[in-house]
C-alpha cells in the first residue's frame, strides 16, 4: 500500500492503495466515483474510459502509480461550462441514445475527447475514434448522430 495524490475533476485526493491498482478501481472503490464502469478489465470494451491530460484512455489497465500529477477527468467532471451539461451529453439526451446505458459514460468520454481534437469529425473519423468502445445493445447509429449533433451545436 502506498499513498498517492491524485487530481481528479479538479480536486485533489489522497488515496492509500497498492501501486498496481488500476485507476478504474481507485475511482470506483476508493473515491466513490462510480460513473466510470467496469466491463472487461483488459482494455477491450471502453466502459472505463477516462481522460488523462485531456486524452481519452482506458483506466482498467492504468496503474495508479503511473498517473503522477497528470490530471484525471471522469464523467462526473466533464463539463464545458460550469453548471451546464456538456454539449455531448445534451446531444445524447436529445437523440435518446441509450438503451441499457452501461457503456454510455465511456462512449461520452471518448466522444468528448474526439471533439476536442477534431471539432468537426467526418463519419470515418468518428468510427475510428469510437471503435474502442463497445455498445452491446447496438446504439452505434445514435451515438454517431449524437456526436455529429454535438459537433454542430458546440459553442466553441
Amino acid at each position: 500500500m502506498s499513498k498517492f495524490n491524485l487530481k481528479v475533476n479538479g480536486k485533489n485526493h489522497e488515496v492509500d492503495v497498492d501501486p498496481t491498482t488500476p485507476v478504474l478501481w481507485v475511482l470506483r472503490d476508493h473515491l466513490n466515483l462510480i460513473g466510470t464502469k467496469f466491463g472487461c478489465g483488459v482494455g477491450s470494451c471502453g466502459a472505463c474510459t477516462i481522460h488523462l491530460n485531456g486524452r481519452a484512455l482506458k483506466s482498467c489497465q492504468l496503474p495508479v502509480a503511473a498517473v503522477g500529477t497528470q490530471p484525471i477527468t471522469t464523467i462526473e467532471g466533464v463539463v464545458e461550462e460550469v453548471g451546464e451539461m456538456h454539449p455531448v451529453q445534451k446531444a445524447w439526451l436529445e437523440l435518446d441514445v441509450a438503451q441499457c446505458g452501461y457503456c454510455q459514460t465511456g462512449q461520452i468520454m471518448a466522444a468528448v475527447a474526439l471533439l476536442k481534437t477534431k471539432p468537426n469529425p467526418t463519419e470515418e473519423e468518428i468510427e475510428s475514434a469510437m471503435s474502442g468502445n463497445i455498445c452491446r445493445c447496438g446504439t452505434y447509429v445514435r451515438i454517431k448522430a449524437a456526436i455529429q449533433q454535438a459537433a454542430k451545436s458546440s459553442t466553441k
Binding site: 466513490n32 464502469k37 435518446d96 438503451q99 441499457c100 452501461y102 463497445i134 454517431k144
Partner: protein, 749 residues
C-alpha cells in the same frame, strides 16, 4: 471529498427544484447537484406520498410518481410502462417521476422482463391502474365541490369544473382520493383518443445515464460492504475437490476464503434455476483489486464430474435432465450433430406425403446450417448484493424475473418468503442471461457465511466462461422440386446441444401440402439458457437462407416468393395449426419491399431480405452490403415491423436498430468455442462483439400502422437479421453461407 448525493437534505432538494425550475446555481456543476431520478422523489418526506393503486404515488405538493413494474435492461420500460399508466391517469407527463418498483408480487402482480411480453402484459392492467386512480381523484373533487363527476374534466394533472370555474391539482386531491373505494368498473380510452401513447418520448432516466449515476448493481454501495468473487471450474464437466488458501489469506485486505454449494442436494430446479457450477470457492475482501489479486493465489483442485440425472420442473410439468460427465469439445459436437442428422429423429409434424414427393422429385435441394454456442456478454458483468440477517434477507439485484427466484431463495438459503426484500436495479444488459438468478443465491450464501453485507462480482472472465449459453445447433432443409419447377415438399430436420430449435408450426408450414419436420437433442454438460429470441435466433437464419436459395433455384424473386407462399398459406392453409397470421406477415414484407425500393433494385444489387414472426411480432429486413478488402461493410438496413400499437415510437425505433446491430454482430463474429470442456473465449479481446465501424451506416425503421394490442420488440426484430445478412452477402460474394459465424466462412478462400 464531496458528500454522497444520497445524503442530501430536504433543503438541498428544494435547491435542486429551483435549479430544475430554471435558475442556475453558480459555481456548482449541474451533475453534483442533480439527484438521481429516484432520489429526487424520495428526498421528499417519505410519509407525504399518498398511494393510489399499486402503481401511483402523489404528494400533497403535487409530485406524481409512477412505478415501472418490470426490471429494466435497455428496452426502456421505465418510460413506456409508466406511459401506459399516465395515458389514463393524465398527470403532466413532463413532471412525472418514474421509479423502478421493488420486487413486490402482491403489488405489481407481474414483474417479468423476458419473452418480449412487457408491452402486452402491461397493456390492460397498467392503463386500468391509471384510469382507476384518475377516477378516484375526480371523485374526490366531485365530493369536495358537490358536483357530478360527469361535469369534471382532467388535463395535465388538474381536475376542473368548468361550470363553476374551480380546479384542483392531483396533489390537492390525493389524500381525499386515497380514502375512497377504488371503482371496479373502469372504462379505458379508445386508441383514437390517445394523447401520450404513440408519441415519441425521451428516456425518463436519460439524465442519470449520461451523468454516470449509481444505477447498476455494480455501482451499489452499502455501509460495511465487502467484495466477494467466486472461482469456478476451468471447464464444464469438472467440479471442486479441494483448495488451499494459505497464500491468498496472507494478502492485504482479504477477510476469508471458503467454498459454497449453490443448490442443496435434492433441490428440484425450476426453469430459471440453471447454474453452470454448483460448488464455488469464494474469496472475500475489502476492495475489488485486492480480491482480484488474492483469488489468483488460491490453489484449487478440480475433479471430473459424474453423469447426473435430475428431475427439473419444466413448463407445465417436469422432465428428466441428463447431464453427462466428460470434457466436451466443439469439434466433437459438430461430428455428433452431423451424425444425428443421419439417424431417424423425433417426428414433430407431417402434412401430406413428403416421402413420395421426394422420391418423385425432378430435383432435390438440400442444405445444412449450423451455429455455435453464443455467450450473452451483457456489458455489466454478473453481480449481486446481499445482506442476510435474522430480520430480513435484503438483496440489491439485477434480475429479469424476480418472482421466479423466490422458491429458489427460500429453499437454498432457508429464508421465509416474507423476509425477502429485493431492490431491482437497472441491468447493464440482459439478453436473457439475467433471467437465471443463481448469483442471487450465491451472494446470499456468502452473506450468511460471513455475516456481513457483501457484493458478489463476476469478472468478465468469470461471466463469459460460466455457461448458460445460447445452444449450438444444426438443421437441414430439403425441398423437392418437380419437372415444372414447383416445390412439392419441404423437409426440416435438426436439433441442438442440448436442445433443438425446429419450430414445426411456423412458416413455411401451412404453405406446402407435403411437409415434414423432425427434431433431436444431444445432452450436454454445457449449460444453456434463453438468448434473445431462443430457438428463433438460429432457425430463422437457416429458414430464411434456405427460402432464398430455393427461390433462386426455381427462378423466382426471393421477396416475391415469400409473398407467394404466404398468400398460398392464407388462401389454402395446410394442416391444423399454423403459428402465424399470414396477413400480418405479408404486410411487413410488403412494407419493407416498398421502403427499400426492392422492385426497382439493380439486378446484381448486393442486397438480401428476410422476415420472421416470433414473440407475437413480425419483422422484415432488407440489408445492403459492400465488400471492402474482403470484409463486409453494411451500407444500409431497411426494417419493417408489426408490433401492433406502438407505445413509445422513440424507444421502439431504438430497439429495432439495436436488434439489427446485435444480429449482424452475432451472425458475423459471435461464437464460443469449447475445447475439452474449456470455453476458449474468455474476455472481450477474444470474443468479438460488433463495434462502431462494423455497424450499418444507416438503419431505417418503418412500422405497420394498425390497432392490434401492443406486442414486443426486444426479440422479434432480431432473428431475421441473420438471414437477411447472409442473403445479402451471397449477392455480394457469390458465396452462400451455412455455418456461423459467417465471417469465418467468408474468410476461407
Amino acid at each position: 471529498m464531496e458528500k454522497s448525493t444520497n445524503n442530501q437534505s430536504r433543503r438541498s432538494f428544494l435547491k435542486v427544484t429551483s435549479l430544475t425550475g430554471g435558475g442556475m446555481m453558480i459555481g456548482f456543476s449541474w451533475l453534483a447537484n442533480l439527484l438521481p431520478n429516484e432520489a429526487l422523489a424520495t428526498a421528499a418526506n417519505a410519509n407525504d406520498w399518498v398511494e393510489l393503486t399499486g402503481f401511483i404515488k402523489i404528494t400533497p405538493d403535487n409530485q406524481v410518481k409512477i412505478f415501472n413494474p418490470n426490471p429494466e435492461f435497455g428496452t426502456n420500460v421505465m418510460t413506456s410502462l409508466p406511459m401506459m399508466v399516465n395515458e389514463e391517469l393524465q398527470a403532466d407527463w413532463s413532471k412525472v417521476i418514474v421509479e423502478m418498483g421493488d420486487y413486490d408480487t402482491p403489488r405489481f402482480k407481474s414483474q417479468f422482463t423476458g419473452g418480449s411480453r412487457g408491452m402486452a402484459q402491461g397493456w390492460k392492467p397498467l392503463r386500468t391502474a391509471g384510469a382507476t386512480a384518475r377516477m378516484m381523484l375526480m371523485q374526490a373533487a366531485a365530493n369536495e365541490w358537490n358536483v357530478p363527476v360527469a361535469e369534471l374534466t382532467v388535463a395535465n394533472g388538474v381536475v376542473s369544473h368548468k361550470a363553476s370555474n374551480r380546479s384542483a391539482n392531483f396533489g390537492a386531491l390525493a389524500t381525499a382520493a386515497s380514502k375512497l373505494t377504488a371503482p371496479t368498473n373502469v372504462e379505458l380510452k379508445k386508441n383514437s383518443a390517445f394523447s401520450l401513447i404513440g408519441t415519441p418520448q425521451k428516456n425518463k432516466v436519460g439524465k442519470d445515464i449520461v451523468a454516470g449515476h449509481s444505477l447498476f448493481t455494480m455501482d451499489y454501495k452499502h455501509e460495511g460492504m465487502l467484495i466477494a468473487m467466486a472461482i469456478h471450474p476451468p471447464a464444464f464437466g469438472m467440479t471442486l475437490k479441494s483448495f488451499d488458501a494459505t497464500e491468498a489469506l496472507k494478502m492485504p485486505g482479504i477477510k476469508s476464503v471458503f467454498d459454497i454449494q449453490v443448490y442443496k442436494d435434492g433441490y428440484k430446479r425450476a426453469g430459471f434455476d440453471t447454474r453452470a457450477f454448483n460448488k464455488l470457492v469464494v474469496v472475500v475482501g475489502n476492495s475489488t483489486w485486492e480480491v482480484m489479486n488474492a483469488r489468483k493465489k488460491v490453489n484449487v483442485q478440480w475433479i471430473p464430474t459424474e453423469t447426473t440425472k435430475e428431475i427439473v420442473a419444466a413448463w407445465g410439468g417436469q422432465r428428466e435432465e441428463i447431464v453427462p460427465a466428460g470434457l466436451e469439445s466443439t469439434d466433437e459436437h459438430m461430428k455428433q450433430m452431423y451424425a444425428m442428422q443421419q439417424k431417424p429423429a423425433k417426428l414433430l409434424r407431417k402434412d401430406g406425403d413428403p416421402e413420395t414427393a421426394f422420391s418423385k422429385a425432378a430435383k432435390v435441394i438440400e442444405r445444412t446450417y449450423s451455429a455455435p454456442f453464443l455467450s450473452h456478454n451483457p456489458m455489466e458483468p454478473i453481480s449481486c448484493f446481499a445482506h442476510i440477517t435474522d430480520e430480513k434477507a435484503y438483496f440489491v439485484a439485477p434480475i429479469q424475473i424476480p418472482e421466479m427466484m423466490k422458491q429458489n431463495i427460500v429453499s437454498n438459503l432457508g429464508i421465509p418468503g416474507d423476509k425477502i426484500e429485493m431492490k431491482l436495479t437497472r441491468m447493464g444488459g440482459g439478453f436473457g442471461r439475467r433471467a437465471y438468478g443463481h448469483y442471487i443465491v450465491e451472494a446470499g450464501l456468502i452473506s450468511q457465511k460471513i455475516k456481513a453485507p457483501v457484493k458478489l462480482i463476476y469478472t468478465r472472465e468469470d461471466d463469459m466462461t460460466n455457461g448458460i449459453y445460447r445452444p449450438t445447433y444444426m438443421v437441414t432443409y430439403k425441398a423437392a422440386i418437380d419437372a415444372t419447377n414447383n416445390v412439392t415438399a419441404i423437409a426440416i430436420k435438426g436439433g441442438g446441444i442440448p436442445e433443438g430449435a425446429v419450430h414445426e408450426n411456423r412458416f413455411p408450414a401451412g404453405a406446402f401440402e407435403n411437409y415434414i419436420a423432425e427434431g433431436w437433442e444431444i445432452p450436454s454438460n454445457i449449460t444453456i439458457g434463453a438468448f434473445r429470441a431462443p430457438g428463433s435466433n438460429f432457425i430463422a437464419s437457416a429458414e430464411q437462407s434456405f427460402l432464398d436459395e430455393l427461390a433462386e433455384t426455381i427462378g423466382k424473386d426471393p421477396l416475391d416468393y415469400r409473398l407467394e407462399l404466404l398468400r398460398k398459406a392464407k388462401a389454402n392453409p395446410v394442416g391444423k395449426r399454423n403459428d402465424y397470421d399470414a396477413d400480418r406477415y405479408i404486410a411487413v414484407l410488403e412494407l419493407v419491399k416498398e421502403k427499400s425500393n426492392w422492385a426497382a433494385r439493380p439486378k446484381n444489387a448486393k442486397r438480401g431480405v428476410a422476415a420472421y414472426f416470433c414473440h407475437s411480432s413480425y419483422a422484415a429486413h432488407v440489408v445492403d452490403v459492400t465488400m471492402k478488402d474482403g470484409q463486409p461493410v453494411i451500407d444500409k438496413v431497411v426494417s419493417a415491423i408489426d408490433c401492433g400499437v406502438i407505445v413509445n415510437p422513440e424507444g421502439a425505433v431504438n430497439m429495432v436498430e439495436g436488434a439489427v446491430v446485435d444480429g449482424i454482430g452475432n451472425a458475423l463474429y459471435g461464437g464460443m468455442r469449447i475445447e475439452k470442456g474449456v470455453p476458449m473465449q474468455k474476455n472481450l479481446n477474444q470474443y468479438r462483439i460488433i463495434r462502431h465501424k462494423e455497424a450499418p451506416k444507416k438503419i431505417e425503421v418503418h412500422f405497420v400502422q394498425n390497432n392490434f394490442d401492443p406486442t414486443g420488440l426486444g426479440e422479434p426484430p432480431f432473428p431475421p437479421v441473420f438471414g437477411a445478412l447472409a442473403n445479402a452477402l451471397y449477392k455480394a460474394t457469390g458465396k452462400r453461407l451455412y455455418n456461423q459465424p459467417y465471417l469465418n466462412e467468408l474468410n476461407k478462400s
